[in-house]
Structure formats: structure tokens, C-alpha cells
Symmetry: D2
Subunit: 364 residues, 4 copies
């Protein structure tokens, strides 16, 4: 099931950019959770186009309809299907994409794999697919919130403009993240990032960067040894997002410069609990949460769609050129922030339920 994610709290997404709509079904949601379409809409509004002057000006409301699984305001334990209709589908604006492969997009590989593709707006490979993830993630976030867990993603770097590490050490307030359109909690850096995005956009070009995500409140014991390590599933979740090229947890690539004696997280007793003095492990040891803050970075490449003439090849195998046009994000990171949070929430709820499964009832 390549379009499903999670073992216990499982989401399946469907839909194309310019088809009838996009949607998701959640299978395995715990019952009796109070949830409304409005609460889900809040998260969708954080990812929708047109929300600020640095994202694509496309006008799509992305209103969610709950089809099933919620009865009188509460989850029933049965599948929760949610649907967002596409506003302007089957656009003729994409006719050139029918025949020419856009560089660094999925047009060529979809064609190679399936021998057919819905070319309009990228079809299934469009980032509109993530609408379903965000809708499902909103429910996962509410479940986690009920257990005292907070998830906060934020932009730390756009191209070479990075927030100072000192400003990123603590768990940022939601208000600080949402204060600017770029969703970097360090105001001064945020301003520079926004300026850069506007500059490259005016050239018809694009930029990428890095998003960090922090999670606090996860108890020790989530994650499975061996293959389904918590960092492996978080890594897969992030690398399944469009435009991602890298993932690192805790000390990450930088940690490889240290010696073991510098890198190890010593244990100490703090507030009567076993805690680590430092947190280079990023809250995960041996694939299992240790109760410390979980944090990781995700690299996003510059947007593949640029408003410039590029060499390419057409479906018939002839060299040609393609001029990018239309309304696109010159930088996907601000809209990717809620998506990263959604995926993190989905992984964590799923692992929590797996922990329930094995350790939930039988006591010997």
C-alpha cells in the first residue's frame, strides 16, 4: 500500500492536483476523541496557498469535509474519511506539461513507471497530496496534546541565511513561529529570509533550506528496536515529503566530528528521574524514546518549478525546451512547516499505539 502510512494509526491518501479532489482516510483512530472540522481546518489553513505574500498566490480555500468516522462531534473508532474538493480542476494551463518532462519533477519517472500519467499540475505528484496528511495530522496532534505532547516545526535556514544556533536551542513558542510568513522564530533572520525569497522570485528562481522539528512530552519507551526505530520512521516520514533531500536526528551529520567522549549523553538523576545531561541523541536511543526532547532537521531542495527557460526532453524522446509559468512557490518551506508537524504527529501516535499493543493489557 504505497499510499498508506502507519501500522496502527494508518492514513491512506488519494487524489490528484487537478482531479475532483484530494482526501485521506484514517484507519485505527481511537474512539471518543472530540474533534471538529474547524480544528482540522486550522492546520489546513497553515499549508494552503495564498496565505501570505511569499507563497503562491493561487486562491484555493481547501475546505475539508468529513465524510465518515465522526458522530456527534466525536471519533467512533471507525475510518475517518476527509475530502477537499479541488477548485479549478482539469486546467488547460498545463497542456505543455502533457508532452514535456519538467526538470527535477516526477513527470519522467511517473511515465517510466506507469506508462501513463495525469499531467495536469503534476497529478498525484503534486504537493496537494499533502492536504490529506495535514488533515490527518491535525487529529494526531490533538491526540498527542491530550497526553501533554507538543510538536513545533520551524524554518532554521533559507539557502545560506541561517538563524543563529543560540536562538534555536529552546522549544519556540507557537506565536514566535507564526509571527512571520516564513515561520522562522528568530525575527531578524526571518526578515532576511523573506527578503531573499522575494528577490529570487523576482528572478523567476527558487530557494530551499532547512526545517527543524522539536517534540516535547514523549515518554520513554516509544519506538521499536531494529527496523522500526523511532528515528527510522521519522526519517521515512520526512523523506516521503516532496522536495526533501536529507534528514538528521540529534547531533546528525555534525555529530560525526566529535569523539565518543564528547558525544555521549551521560545519565544523571534529575527531579528524581533518570535523565541525560546533554541530548546529542535527540531524545532517541537504540530506536526508542528516552523521555528527552526529540528533535531533527529536514533538508528541502529549491523548488523545481522556476519561471525560466530550461532544456528538457519530450515524451517522444526529442530534445526540447520548456518555459516555466504559472503561480508557484519560490520556496516551499513556510508551507512545509505544518506538514512536517503533521508527519511527526502521525509517526508518534502510531508508535504510541504499537507500544499499547504489546504492553497494554497483559501483565505478568
Amino acid at each position: 500500500m504505497p499510499n498508506s502510512f502507519g501500522k496502527n494509526f494508518t492514513i491512506s491518501t488519494w487524489g490528484e492536483s487537478h482531479g475532483a479532489g484530494v482526501g485521506v482516510v484514517i484507519d485505527g483512530c481511537p474512539p471518543n476523541l472530540p474533534i471538529t472540522a474547524d480544528e482540522i481546518q486550522v492546520e489546513l489553513d497553515r499549508r494552503r496557498p495564498g496565505q501570505s505574500d511569499i507563497v503562491t498566490p493561487r486562491k484555493e480555500e481547501d475546505r475539508v469535509e468529513i465524510i465518515s468516522g465522526i458522530f456527534e462531534g466525536k471519533t467512533t473508532g471507525t475510518p475517518i474519511a476527509m475530502l477537499v474538493r479541488n477548485a479549478d480542476h482539469r486546467s488547460s494551463a498545463y497542456s505543455e506539461m502533457k508532452d514535456k518532462f519538467r526538470p527535477s519533477h516526477a513527470d519522467f519517472t511517473y511515465q517510466s513507471k506507469f506508462g501513463i500519467r495525469d499531467h495536469a499540475g503534476g497529478g498525484r505528484s503534486s504537493a496537494r497530496e499533502t492536504i490529506g496528511r495535514v488533515a490527518a495530522g491535525a487529529i494526531a496532534k490533538k491526540i498527542l496534546a491530550s497526553a501533554g505532547v507538543e510538536i513545533r516545526a520551524f524554518v532554521t535556514r533559507i539557502q545560506d541565511i541561517a538563524a543563529p544556533e543560540s536562538a534555536l536551542e529552546n522549544f519556540p513558542a507557537a506565536a514566535d513561529v507564526e509571527a512571520t510568513a516564513i515561520r522562522c522564530p528568530h525575527g531578524e533572520t526571518a526578515a532576511k529570509m523573506i527578503e531573499r525569497i522575494k528577490a529570487v522570485r523576482s528572478e523567476g528562481d527558487s530557494v530551499g533550506g532547512v526545517i527543524r522539528c522539536r517534540v516535547r512530552g514523549i515518554p520513554a519507551g516509544l519506538g521499536e528496536p531494529v527496523f522500526d526505530r523511532l528515528e527510522a520512521d521519522l526519517g521515512k516520514a520526512m523523506l516521503s515529503l516532496p522536495a526533501t533531500k536529507g534528514f538528521e536526528v540529534g547531533s546528525g551529520f555534525g555529530g560525526t566530528l566529535l569523539k565518543g567522549s564528547e558525544h555521549n549523553d551521560l545519565f544523571e538523576v534529575r527531579d528524581g528521574k533518570t535523565r541525560t545531561v546533554t541530548n546529542r541523541s535527540g531524545g532517541i536511543q537504540g530506536g526508542i524514546s528516552n523521555g528527552e526532547e526529540i528533535f531533527f532537521n529536514v533538508a528541502f531542495k529549491p523548488t523545481a518549478t522556476i519561471l525560466q527557460l530550461q532544456k528538457t526532453v519530450d515524451v517522444q524522446g526529442n530534445a526540447t525546451e520548456l518555459m516555466g509559468k504559472g503561480r508557484h512557490d519560490a520556496c516551499v518551506l513556510p508551507r512545509a512547516v505544518p506538514i512536517v508537524e503533521a508527519m511527526a504527529a502521525l509517526v508518534l501516535v502510531d508508535h504510541w499505539m504499537r507500544q499499547n499493543a504489546q504492553n497494554g493489557t497483559f501483565r505478568f
Copy 2:
């Protein structure tokens, strides 16, 4: 099934460091593949202890026994179980680990998760678990080889000692990788790396670094859109290895410094085929292979076990100290090279079979 990996070519591993043995069963292997225990042993010998003077001097032969699934020298399509007996099990050398949590190991988290743990040598969290992966990977590599696919992993950096990028651009020869104990194909750098490892080991300390993996010969079309993208599954595979902290594919984190116009891989016609001029995508676009070389980097932290006195906490929750002892790798990377190759092979065979499933017979 947290101890299983893969959807069609599925491996399940079992075993603890000091139990009766470690093993693996492969479910779904194609039938009629000629394979011998000796061919599998070749890969196990690349990961076993005692193979050189920079890895742990522990003496374990790690001889594989094939229990099932191979008949008169060929796979039958039924489960292939393989077992490696542990040489010196239930050692008393680990008695201190029974009560004290080793820093940056999985002792505390296993105890938190399960309320019990096999402490001897790390039990299930020991890297001995990867024996099963390597044995299964040997079969996967042979399957891929039959289709003309080559996989080559190699060390590119130890702590701050990095091979020059110019020396890493091409697919290295196996002989160059295996020429030195560190498995870095650039001889000059390899010598420095070995020197560094010996130096830190003499201090009872440890180091980490980066392994790169290149794959050539994969046709366009492998990988699934959305969640089971090829890079997502490769990333999960690598992040499921002990001591890994990061994964990046193609241009990776560095690629975020480029603009879209600099980063995009333009298409061209080459030798009558649709090819990319550059390969910042790392052979994968939209989660699907595009026929170019696949490459990625994996970050390994410095070995957690160091022969120094470290502060820690005991099982009863009291602050204490632990002195590392025994025979350990001061650097896991040389032995991790065949493991990275094994995991890459497992992911690729699995996705190839998924492609078969959906596109194999029905033609419309």
C-alpha cells in the same frame, strides 16, 4: 512486525548478542536462484570482528547455516532461514551492565519500554543483529547482480578526515574499497583515517564518520509515489542501523544552498535515451528511480562504548559511574560498509518486486 523489513522480499531477524545465536528468515525470495552458503559467508566475513587491526579483536567466526528454503543449491521460493551460532554466549563479563545503563546505548530505553532486558552484550540492541541483514543482503545482491545492478558503499570521512570530493565522484572499484581496512577508496586518505582510529583507540575513545553508497544499473521506474518513495525507504533502512544519525540523498543538505536554476537536473537525449545532464537528484525523482546512478550518504556517530569512566545511573535510579571495558570497535564504519550495501540491496529488490506486482502481467 518491528523486526521485519520489506513488503515482498521480507526479512525478519532475531537473536541477541549472547544468546544461542542470531538469524534471519527471508520470505518471498524468487525461486531458482543458485546460491551457496559460501557466497553468503563472503559478505559475513566483511562484517565480522577480528578481520583487521582497526576493528574489535573479538574472535567470532560467524559461520552461517542455511536451515531451509534452498534445495540442491537453488532457492525454492519458500522461506530461507539462516542461523549463526554465538560463540561465547551468556558471558559473565557483562555483569556490571546488568545494573548500570551505558551512556548513549539502548540499555535505559529497552528497560523503559519492556520492563526487562537481556543485558549481556546489549542483547537485542547489539550490532550482532545486523548479521541477519548481511546474510539476507548477500542474496539480494546476487539477485540484483543478475539484473546488472552493482552496489558499492565506502567510507568518505572519519571525524574530520575526508577524502577529496574529486576522488569520490566516480563509482569506485571493489578492489579499491577493499584495499584498506577502513574501506575508503582513496588510499592517501585511508591511511590517515586508520592512523586516527588507532590514535583515538589508544585513548580509549572513539570516532564516527560518513559512508557513501552508490548504485548503478537500476532501471527507471522503481519506487512508489507518496509514502514509499525510494529515498524514504532507503532512508529508513539506513536510519534503522545502529549508530546512524543522518541520511541525505543526491545533493542532500548541501543542495539547499543552491538556487533552483542551479540545482535542477535538465533532461537531455544521450545514447538515444532520456537522461539528466547533472544528477543532483541522486537518481530519484518524485520517489521513483530515473535510471541515473543512485547515491546517498549516511552519518554514523562515534561508538558509544568508550574505555573511560563515565557518569551514569543504575537500574534503581541512583547516580553511579561505569568504566567501559572489553573489546570494542573504536570506529564502526569499516564494518558498517557491507551492512549499508546489504540494506540498499534489500530495499531495491523489494521495490523491484513491487514494480513487478503492479506492472508485471496485466497489459491493457
Copy 3:
């Protein structure tokens, strides 16, 4: 994923009887299959209410909308989501069901499991859920038809009225099955069955019976040894249908009366192929198809909803009574015929794709 079925051709259903609608998403459908909503509608019309004078007179059109996965009349290999809106949802006609458990329905068990339930019309436990199965099955049937496979289910017994075995030995023509409202291909028996249903309905009572399904054209080699035997997956598929109480394949329960020498299917050479003389195996040996016709029987209990006063217990745990009312099927079998065919098709396509996965490309 309790609401999903199949490993390669996977369907996930959602929706409640009186919610916004019911639907399904297919993940893994082969690309390039020409299919229209009208072709799917044909199968839905065979299961919809109001189609004859022996089924419930409820008026629901059950019009299917294809949301995704089909582009310009062909499948694209991406998820196919289909939605059927409910006509008269959130009916007040079911208010009594809110508090009282209907005997031999799922009200009590859903309440026990989830602590909450959508009581209107049975919510998720309503047979309306099977709409998604039939819609997905229509696509599976078309795939199989392209490979020369035919599936035919039909009613063989209603209560004690059974068609003569001699009339059931051959693969019946579709026209003979569809000739009567009861879908028994033996006209004389069909007339008696219809008469019986009308009689019990006039008493506010209900009846059950047996459906047989025959499949021809399946090549030898489908099905997996051990757990995922073809008959095990067919059995699970049928026993997952509402109101089913039994499943038997080939000689079934009756075959246990024979001796081995009477029961064994001897092999012979026929038309140059290895065939069995008899077919007590029902086309499956060792869990794998042998190329003969596959056939099995499914037992359906009498409809639980009867228009009579019955003793029951309310949600608060008090003894009470409940009077059945509304428009119901006095016998579910005629409408279950297309559902049985749909489930059989889903199992067979799934296993065909599994066979592709393991045996599709790698040749040694």
C-alpha cells in the same frame, strides 16, 4: 488496518449507513486499464436496494463518483477513490436503536469495543459498507476478464429449498442467474425460493441460505503456501461479509464422509495438459490453484432484522423490548450475489499480483 483488504491490490472502505456517504480507495491497481463509472455502476445496481420486489424497497440510487486515479478513461496506477453519497442520512427513524441493542446485530459489540457507536441504521456495521467492495470488485472483475477469467456466484439454497445438485454442476450462464430476482439459475427452484421469501416477509420474519461461487480461467500457480492459501484468503473474504456463518471449498464438509480413495483427484493428461479427473479439491491444492475450476459455498444466516417484538437489553443494562420496523431485506442472498463475486475478484487479482511480484522479472 481493519478496514483494508488485500496486499497488492488493496481496498480500504469507509463510511456509515446514515453519514455523508460510503466509499472506497483502491491502492495498487495496475495502470492503463480502461474503465468508466458506468461499468462500475452496473455492479452497484446489482446490489442496490429497490431493484426487485423481494428486496428492501428503500429508494437509493447509489450513484458512484470517481474522485481520483482515473485519467481520460484509464487507470493511472495511483489510488482510485470512489464515493457514493447517502440519500437520506441522519434519519430520526432510528432513535430507538440509540438506546436498545438489536438482537444478533453489532450494536452491543460495537458499544463494548469502542464505548461509542453511530447507531443510525447500524452505522459502520450496516451492509451499506459493501458498496465500496462492489465498486472495487467491478474493477477487479474487469482486470480478470482481460485475462479470460469469469466469476459467477448464484443462490443454491434458501432455507430448505435447494436447487438440485445436477442443475448446479456446470458453470451457469450470467443470463440464467440474472433471469430471476433471487439469482438462482434453476428457474423452477427460483420460483419456489421467491415464494418462500414473500411468505416469511409477510410474517415479518426472514430467511437465509447458501450462495455458491464458481471461477474459471484461473491459471495454475496462484495462492501462497502456508498462511495465505488461496482458500484461506477466499474464506476470510467471505466470512468478512455481514451475515455469513460458514465457508467450504471443493468437497467441503460433505467430503469428510468419503475415504481417501474416493476423495483424491487423480491426475491425467487431457488436451496435452496435466489435469485432474475429478475436482473435489475445488481447484486448489496445497493452497495454490491447479488450473481447474475454483468453487466454494458460503452460508448466510437469516436476516437479523425482523418485524417482530423481541426481548433485548438497553444501553443502561436494563431488560427491555424492541419492535423491528422500517424497510428491510427478508433475505439478503439475492443482493449478496454480486458482493460474493466482488470479494472473489479482489482475492484473485491480489494473488495474481503477488505471483507477479515473486516470479515476474527475475529469471535464473
Copy 4:
């Protein structure tokens, strides 16, 4: 993973009849369960050959070795691998089977599916594969016992010799089942059954029959709506056993003769709990346990191996004959009783853990 069963408590079996051995690995077993090899051996001894004078006189001890997952007498939550070595493997006694397909066995279908097969003793299709199921089932049974659940299977009919239904209505004592070699708790019938088996055996022939299984102590709420209904998973489990041809739960095929008013299980308040007056549902409604006793029947065909000359076809496609020889069971049912119990236990533990997953921690 065709050789795996269960979603949370997952078993994977491997091994061939005449290879090195057969085994199983359990993934997901709850930690801290005290269990010994001797406890597992008790169940294996109930299925092993040579245990009485009506089963095959082959001498195999079937001693289980625990390879992993149990530490100091308790489960650790990690994979439990168990191995039973084959006594006399690679026998030359099976040379004729190399070339000729045994009627109603899996020889022809394995050859068709895989293009290769381990012919010795039936290879993977041998009932020796069930050793792993019984070993894993022993652990599942102990888990259930800790929660007050009892499982009892027993023979109710051999060919046409059936125990009176009045003698089968209650949950039989283990001692009554084990009192005779046939494992029918009605002594008088048991004697006739044994006599029949000896008679057909002396003719070189074989017989089949029916096993019933009863489970008491399962709380209401286990089982998943829609596809993974408790009866669907029980049915699949039983139909995955060699030689099974049918499965029925509760009233089964016989229940189809009743009207709804006769068949419905009315609710009443008994001992302060909501109970059903009758139990035609077999303890399952809407796919979910209702707290009543669960019971079902399984049909086993007569053993395919008979010591008579039978027509068949060889691997080259020529008509030929095959004379059965060797030591075989003339009736598999007595040895199948512990296997049925094992599979029932595996399904029930798995569903219990699924219930934990969804309902275990999050309370709203």
C-alpha cells in the same frame, strides 16, 4: 509475507519436511511472560508422530530449542525464535515423488508456481510446517490463560461416526479429550472412531472428519469490524491448515435452515451483565466478540496419502501410476486438535493486542 500470520503477535514459520529443521519466530510477544521450553514441548508432544497406535509410527522427538527472546525464563519483548531439528532428513525413500505428482497433494501446484520444489516428504507443504505454529501457539495459550481464557478443540466426527450433539454442548474437560487417542470427549464414540481408523488403515485407505473448538473467557470487544472480523480471521487461520475444506462458526451451515425469529440471540440481563439467551452467533456479532463462548467447526478431508496404486502424471507430462508407501496418518484429526487450538490462540492474542493498540492508552 505469505509465511507470516498475525498483525501484532506475528508468527513466521520456515522449514521443510526433510531439510535441516523447521522453526518459527514470534514478533511482538508481550514481555515478562514466564515460559520454559518444557511448557512448549507439552504442546509439541500432542502433535508429534508416534504418540499413539492410530497415528503414524514415525519416530521423531520434535525437541524444541529456544534460540532467542527469552532471558532468564521470561520473554523480553524481542523476537522468540524456536527451532526443531529434523531427525532423518534428505531421505532417499522419496525418490519416486521427485518425478510423479501425488494426487490431491501440493506437488503439482508447487511445481506450477515456483518451477522448482523440494520433493522430499512434501518439502514445505508437509504438515511438519505446523510444528512452528504449535510452538508459537503454546506461548499464545499461556498468555490467554493468564487472562482466564481456555481453548479446547476436540474431534466430533470421523467420516460418518459422530458424537451425539448432546455430548458436545458443554465445554469439555481436557482430561476427557485427552482420554483417548482420537481426542473425542465422548468415550463411546471415540472407541468407534478408533476402530474405524484402524479398519481403513488396514485397507491402505484414509478418513477425515470434523473438529470443534470452544473458547471461553474472551471479553466482549475483540475483533475488528469489516475485514478483520474475528470469525474471518479464525476462518482464515483454520483454512490455512493442511487438509481443511470448511469452516463454520456458531450455527454455521445448519443455521441457514432457521428463520430469523428462530435464529436471533435475544439479549437478557444475567448476573448483572448483558448476555444472550442462546448462542447461535457463536460468541461473535458484527465480527466482534460478545463475551459468550466462541465455537466453530473445521472440516478435514481424508488424508491424501493412501497405500494404494493411483493414476497420476509425471513432471514430464506423461500419464503414469504411483504406489503410496511409507508411514502415514490414516486420519489427521487427532494430531490436528492441538494445531487448531494453537491457531485459535494466535488469532485471539493478536486481536487482543489490536484492541489494546486502539483503546489502550488514550482516554477522552
